[in-house]
């Protein structure tokens, strides 16, 4: 029987290399492994940890850190985080260096130029998906739309917009209005 830390390290290193599209795209796979195959936690605990990781700031790979922390304390957190980050980062490091080494080659120039519009489209899609997830009614739609306009057409610090959103959300709750 493998130790729990070893199991966490192994599971998340595999996820790290399989996570094309980031942690959110890998969530179903992590669920299948941690809840389904390994029976390390139940569905409700998994859902709660995902929500916690998304409530806290930072990249969504932290869902691995939250699962590690739940399973094996601070040691679990460290192992899960490193396992989720290191393998893919080493690949990125190698890829980045290879591309710079051949940066004058036509193939690399064409490849980079080809990937850029796809990244732009995917970023816009993530924005829409986030807006849908945050949508609880008229006010949240208005906040998203207002923030989009402020970011697109002004150079105002986005923190003002986020603080305004939080205050509006809180105030509406206090006034008994739905968001």
């Amino acid at each position: 029987m493998r130790s729990i830390l070893g199991q966490i390290g192994l599971t998340f290193s595999v996820m790290s290399l399989a996570a094309v599209g980031g942690a959110n795209a890998t969530l179903p796979e992590i669920h299948r492994e941690v809840v389904g195959a390994l029976h390390l936690m139940d569905d409700a605990t998994f859902a709660r940890l995902v929500t916690i990781a998304q409530t806290a700031p930072g990249p969504n790979v932290l869902v691995a850190s939250a699962i590690g922390l739940h399973l094996a304390g601070l040691g679990g957190l460290c192992v899960a985080t490193l396992a989720m980050i290191l393998p893919s980062s080493l690949v990125a490091l190698g890829a980045g260096r290879t591309m710079r080494h051949f940066s004058s080659s036509r193939a690399i120039l064409v490849l980079k130029k080809s990937l850029a519009p796809i990244a732009i489209g995917l970023m816009l899609a993530s924005g829409l998906i986030m807006a849908r997830a945050a949508d609880r009614g008229g006010l949240t739609i208005a906040i998203t739309a207002g923030m989009t306009l402020v970011i697109a057409f002004t150079r105002l610090n986005p923190l003002w917009g986020i603080a305004t959103g939080a205050i509006l959300g809180l105030a509406c709750g206090r006034l008994g209005l739905s968001l």
Binding site: P57, P59, L124, I129, T140, G169, C172
Partner: protein
Amino acid sequence: MIPASPSPRQCATIVSHRALFTAFFKIGVLGFGGVTGWVRQIVVEERGFLDDREFAELLGVAHVLPGANTVNLATMLGDRYNGASGAAAALLGLLIAPILILIAVVSLYDRFAALPDVQGALGGAAAATAGLMIGNAYKMVRAIRRDAAAILIAGAAFLAAGVLHLPLVATLATLIPASILAVAVVERRR
């Protein structure tokens, strides 16, 4: 083959370990509900590490590699300016505060998460963060607006991922060859 010499612009941009750490620290700590919206805001607009075209290209590479996009971007950007230790500085900056906050949130979550005030504030902030993302994506669209083929590919990627919710691997497997073909054809005509 001579190793790629950095372009004049890259030479002109000196980015220290400290600058990498603080930029990604800010991205990490501010990124409620995902960090992607903040990355362009800080890397392009606030710090000027990259211009819009370079950022879109690097983000494109970060997308096709395994792992989280922001983590990949931090690694490649840090390495580009300061080697492996630069990558480590950017990654540490990105992750250190969120991990400490995560530990705090885990212990506080059950007590505070159900409070209506907290729910309301988080809901409002999440809606604004979505706007941050869309606004930044709009600026990137604006940067490629004269390139009809690029707009078409970006539109297809948006439709596939945002509206039709197709699996990412299928989307990439279709769009990358299409985009390469489009770029190659346009370049040949020049």
